[in-house]
Symmetry: C2
Subunit: 419 residues, 2 copies
């Protein structure tokens, strides 16, 4: 008999059906046993009242994988108003007792224990839900960009030189040559603006992050966007606004608390942001406390959970950042704050070869390690810009969890290389 | 004035418009100049007949990035039946002469030269088209699986032990520990069947491939699928059939020669395949000549470009392969041949812990390096299976190009780490 999902049971009341999944919980009462079966669509209650099955049900444990054939009966007190009665139960796989109870509303083990046993802890409905939300967000990311004429690309993760700075890069031996894991697809996505005008990539990036913090990982999923033929960074911000709205729209069916992205996200210039945040006027960047103050201001003054800060000082932005032509000490770079936390960084990039050579010289950096990248700009590049969203950080902030590892399937950090 | 794309020109005849892009070709005649402008939608012809612009047009070179304002005029002999006249031309970026002519129908430089200058050669319309086709194929892959209840996942690319065999793996230092670049997400996608039942991943995989061949890369894009609660490999083959059909359907608007995937792809059992291929009955695998013979047979007998071969001998499949219960020397593994070439490998996997322990013992392998993976099977796993499609190999075979590097954006191989 064709298996149906637990969420389909209400449409089959009175019928004989087959469901399959994991035993989420087993409760043995005196004359009846309840099996809560978990499948990818949710939970189903199976009532075992046949004395002949008593011994078999006693032998079952939580996380056993079973196939159940039974009759669907309406029962107001059961999940979704139905339960499965008169079952036959076939064991597909046995299981050792899980290291923590998956059936409790919240996992009670410590985070390290949950991560050590991620194979099992990820099965908890609340944890599953976070990753389904992540998948939906990425789907919304792509569909927004596909509709706007972007091309998806896949770029090398093994590169000849470090993208941003050598400090936090993983090195490896590449057939006898020294190579690195890409910290970002920045250079490639810019180069590909020369090919496709508008590109995006969803892929892993690697940081040999020596700090043990709640928001740093050695590998994360970067959602990268770059587009050409912009006037300046404001065209990039408009795309970012639509992308975040598209991500959240895709999340909405799964998550009731999706925030609204205003059609016009409020925007504040960096020197004004310092004033509002009560920071000294010569600060080159925003500290977390400043960002929180700005988040409160945006909510109070604009009723918005989102705020753009534009015009960051050039001194704190990477060498490929385009300056504001009207005041060259400030950049055409921006951050998007969400609830008083930086969610996205982006901006306009330089697009002329001579400007790159000058920028590297001003930064005291040699051009040789960047030659392959710089060659792109010898061959005609339009004004362009882009941004990157860290998927796990997006989820962390949307779900307001305390540690990025809670929203990372198998996190990699200073101390963790398995599972 | 808002920029429009070259493909939108026919809707603007008689109007003044702005287009922007690269100078694909510049032709100076005695009293008139033609600029062919390339943007992401195609080519547009600009006619410069004003004597006052003569010097400015002479200064332009191919691959300059320009913005052109002009009047759209119908002209049967121009591309798409329109051209832009009475232009003003604004240079956005200058460019050095490209190392080869991008305007010729075919790039004439050698493959190494094209790859050395990938920043420029990728701009050629025919090369662009291949990668747009790749993006469409991946879109079709995802949409087919999204509709079938699959969850997209992102798994670690830095792992503690080699997945399949140690021979072709990149090693790296991970905060003082020895680590490896993942050769495939095989173990993780299986583990995640325990969480989501049905998962897929699109991501890079890494092979320290010491051979310099037309079809091997050190990094490629793997389209990985795994699903639980299968009867056996035939359920996996049914999903694969739909996935390949979905990929080709998404490609169809861009590529006229998309092959038809039969609703029921013909399938042949391994021993029968040996007979048809004229191979000795004790061969444990199919050689390329055998696959070609089978491809011809499938076309002749079934009118199909696709053929499943099932029941490969266990001896040639990885240790996690599920045997055929009726004849344990043969597997529930399959290949999908496309035009007589292996396109996809897949199969049913073991799902019980004891079976893994026995399989590793039979293969003479220790369990310790696999412990984190094996732990998954201690905790209840359904019967499951899956497959992996190499995106670049899919494109290579669809477009029938001679070298996989022609359909890889920035290939990585034994000799190539840049651009």
């Amino acid at each position: 008999m064709q298996r149906i999902l637990s969420c389909q049971l209400p449409a089959h009341v009175g019928q004989r059906v087959t469901i399959a999944g994991w035993i989420h919980r087993r409760r043995l009462l005196k004359s009846v046993a309840f099996l809560i079966l978990r499948d990818r669509s949710g939970l189903a209650q199976v009532v075992v009242s046949q004395p002949s099955l008593r011994a078999a049900v006693q032998a079952l444990g939580e996380e056993y994988v079973v196939e159940v054939e039974g009759t669907v009966v309406a029962n107001e007190t059961a999940p979704a108003g139905v339960e499965v009665t008169e079952p036959t139960v076939r064991v597909l796989s046995e299981a050792e007792p899980p290291p923590f109870d998956l059936y409790r509303p919240t996992l009670t083990a410590t985070l390290p224990t949950l991560l050590d046993h991620a194979q099992v802890s990820l099965r908890h409905p609340a944890r599953q839900a976070a990753f389904r939300l992540g998948a939906a967000a990425v789907r919304g990311f792509r569909s927004t960009l596909d509709a706007a004429g972007f091309t998806e690309v896949h770029t090398p993760k093994i590169v000849a030189s470090a993208t941003e700075s050598g400090a936090t890069v993983f090195g490896l031996d590449y057939f006898g040559d020294r190579a690195f894991l890409a910290q970002s697809p920045q250079f490639y996505k810019q180069t590909l603006v020369g090919v496709f005008e508008r590109v995006y990539e969803v892929g892993p990036v690697f940081r040999a992050e020596p700090h043990d913090t709640i928001r740093h990982l050695a590998q994360y999923t970067s959602l990268d966007v770059e587009l050409g033929f912009i006037r300046d960074h404001r065209d990039v911000m408009a795309v970012l606004r639509d992308v975040v709205a598209g991500m959240l729209e895709a999340c909405a069916p799964l998550y009731p608390d999706v925030p609204v992205v205003p059609a016009e996200v409020p925007s504040i210039d960096f020197p004004d942001a310092l004033v509002i945040a009560g920071a000294p006027p010569d600060e080159p960047d925003l500290a977390p406390a400043h960002e929180r103050a700005l988040g409160e201001w945006a909510r109070r003054e604009h009723g918005s959970e989102f705020l753009f800060v534009t015009g960051y000082p050039m001194v704190k932005r990477p060498f490929y950042t385009h300056p504001d032509p009207a005041r060259p000490a400030y950049s055409n770079g921006f951050d998007l704050l969400f609830r008083g936390l930086e969610l996205v960084t982006g901006g306009q990039r330089l697009h002329r070869y001579a400007d790159y050579v000058a920028a590297l010289a001003a930064a005291g950096q040699p051009t040789a390690p960047y030659q392959s990248y710089l060659d792109t700009f010898r061959h005609g590049m339009p004004p362009h810009g882009g941004f990157a969203i860290g998927l796990e950080r997006f989820l962390m902030r949307l779900l307001e969890v305390g540690n990025i590892r809670e929203v990372t399937i198998f996190p990699r950090d200073l101390h963790r290389l398995t599972p």
